[in-house]
Symmetry: C2
Amino acid sequence: MSETDARKQFVEELTDQSDDFSRWYIEVVRKAQLADYTPVRGSMVIRPYGYGLWENMQRLLDRRIKATGHQNAYFPLLIPESLLQLEADHVKGFAPECAWVTMGGREQLEERYAIRPTSEAIIGHLYSRWIESYRDLPVLLNQWCNVMRWEKVTRPFLRTAEFLWQEGHTAHATEAEAREEVLRMLEVYRDFVETELAIPVYTGLKSDAERFAGAEQTYTVEALMRDGKALQAGTSHHLGQHFARVFDITYQDEQGKRQHVWQTSWGASTRLIGALVMVHGDDQGLRLPPNVAPVQAVIVPIWRKDEDRSAVRAFVERVRESIGERVRLHVDDRDQYSPGWKYNEYEMRGVPVRLEIGPKDVASQAVMSVRRDNRAKESIPLAQLAERLPVLLADIQSSLYRQAEEFRRANTVEAGSKADVIAHFAADRRGFVAVAWDGSAAFEAEVKERTGATLRCMPVDPKPFAAVARPGHRVALFARAY
Amino acid sequence: MSETDARKQFVEELTDQSDDFSRWYIEVVRKAQLADYTPVRGSMVIRPYGYGLWENMQRLLDRRIKATGHQNAYFPLLIPESLLQLEADHVKGFAPECAWVTMGGREQLEERYAIRPTSEAIIGHLYSRWIESYRDLPVLLNQWCNVMRWEKVTRPFLRTAEFLWQEGHTAHATEAEAREEVLRMLEVYRDFVETELAIPVYTGLKSDAERFAGAEQTYTVEALMRDGKALQAGTSHHLGQHFARVFDITYQDEQGKRQHVWQTSWGASTRLIGALVMVHGDDQGLRLPPNVAPVQAVIVPIWRKDEDRSAVRAFVERVRESIGERVRLHVDDRDQYSPGWKYNEYEMRGVPVRLEIGPKDVASQAVMSVRRDNRAKESIPLAQLAERLPVLLADIQSSLYRQAEEFRRANTVEAGSKADVIAHFAADRRGFVAVAWDGSAAFEAEVKERTGATLRCMPVDPKPFAAVARPGHRVALFARAY
């Protein structure tokens, strides 16, 4: 088998989603070159195409984080064990999954360090030194960094020992301000995920059983994957004064009295790349939302006869110039691959628009565009391309959102009772199930034990689920989840 | 002492550079809130002002890295010890200063992991899997990440256990291409450091004694600090086939023959922030080059009488609007600090231009600008501000470069012999000393042992030092260094 054939097969041999979603996922991640395995337990390498996606996501989320008044900083990777141990719930939740540094050079360390699983502890320590007066508040910081959790079962992007994320950490003078911040950032995540990733989400409160170790309340944005499982796409925590008390983070108020601060933290990670894959992908591979796609449009030049070549090339150049910086464009003029091979490759990689340019297109001074989301073809005259292409991309962005929303609507059902919830998941049905929850841990535990489904959230806006609402209960959404 | 007085003193009490440069440096870093100490051995926290500087530097360097055809990726933080050990010089150079992860959760690991001191080993392993054919070459990747070296003596930005950097790693089909790449990235660093950081550098080749562990050749950009000591501001390594052989990174050439690739790596780090401080700072604090300053201009509103207040505020708003997005602007309208206190604060923080706006300025529809670099004052009519301010900033940028270049010229001398070099440094003189070097390790070792000065580089362009050139010798620059 020639190398080219081998590559062709590599692109074509993709498991169908309906045959084995989990295998489909892993294959897409590797064939689209988003990520690859490494010899480091549970750690992946994010390849340029996956990282390009992450860079676009970072830019769009970072802009929102800054627009809401936050600044970036960088805190140490290592956390002394003694600091991690100060908050009892926090250490209980995270210590069992920490990677520990015990040696520096040739020396055994007196105290071991955890590689940060999250940074509340080290940041709490520093905030206690930096915050003195009410004038120093609020403190609104964020950091983009790597974190590590020594997970037993891992899957690229969804659950890895090391992952990249942003973690915001804020301190406020009053509880009301902290609560506002928690909801503000929840809304930032909702807006970012829905607008840029084209993924509809339910925003809501976690139950006590599912909340962040050390938080008073955890809010979440929950998305639905194509296999009917839910995925937590970002969380925003009200930390109350839990860390302020143990780290002694206090300020002098306007009356000269010492007060503990109120804190929040919130994070979103490279997990979102996994969500993108599983919400929009199909049996041909990725379908990337144009707002974050590393390549928004790819030009594939076509010629059979050598005499066509220079005319096609010259026209490609004119197309490139007319598009300019409006669109992230890639021209694939490699000789060793056929146009058909390239079509497969860019479908696998989910490039939103393919522009085919052959001798006929040159003759008509137009390009043939093919949408990745619905395969619709359209010949676009060169003179209109610079205007038409951005419109096309915007349409693909909203079409992907609409499809995901329709899928979610079709896979969100209402249940009248706990028994109904259990019956739904026991029959191997998926999706979200809305039910009136009495707030008891027993209800939640029974559903989980019998079906594996968990309480994803109590929606911030329960109105769409008014049919299941009952006095003295809260609407809750259950689902199997990643 | 009131809190305000305490803060005032905090700003005013800065050690003079001439009294104790080292203490001045640490004080500026902390008072300007670039960074702070942490309870993690040798690790600092980069505070928002320092990180804002880093973000601007990243953006400007990343743009150059991408413009030269590179893409970003992300490789694992941890490196299995067995991989690190494959290249003999590499492990000898780095293993003694690695932080080691020996436990994951509650389990002792079978093989320990180093927190990456640099990523040649893990990347070499992955390149051996990714590269098959000459068509896969060149591979041109870069990553922005944290690295860790368990240094004994640390100083914020200059030498810390953990630091942030970018590391480029490329693989090529031929030695000539790899050599070209090494010099291309050296030139990227030179251009970035000189253009954006306003720091003149000498580019050159390191001696064998000073080269990167595992490299065949190391090129460097060397800058001169205000205390006359040199600082390595970025390095570009020709790795030859050292890693390709031990990691078995091969490709099939056009004739179907297996060949080892040729590799390069190159890096620049948060150390550059230390260079900025030490090249441009003065007895009042930082002086930041406008191209990277987080705040390029600060508006300080001034009023004595309450009745002036609303007029000043309204005018400040008009100024803000007229400047728009042209300049990174901050308005400091805090009531609890006096204008004088704010002047000190922003001088400490090195903001390039201060715009004072009081009742008189409102009356004349102008603002009083004060340059941080030379204190020159200039009243700028509101109508001209949007045009004048960017010109002023460009002038400050080139003025800072010119001052640094003049300082370097005054502190670069020529020596006729090894004895002259030793005499220079033995007399506690600093700066660069150019000399004809016979290439012997003994020469280098003797200078180092007797004076502490090291061979910084053999200039790529030796013409400026033609006076010391001798047949059979290479021009070398010696200096005490950080």
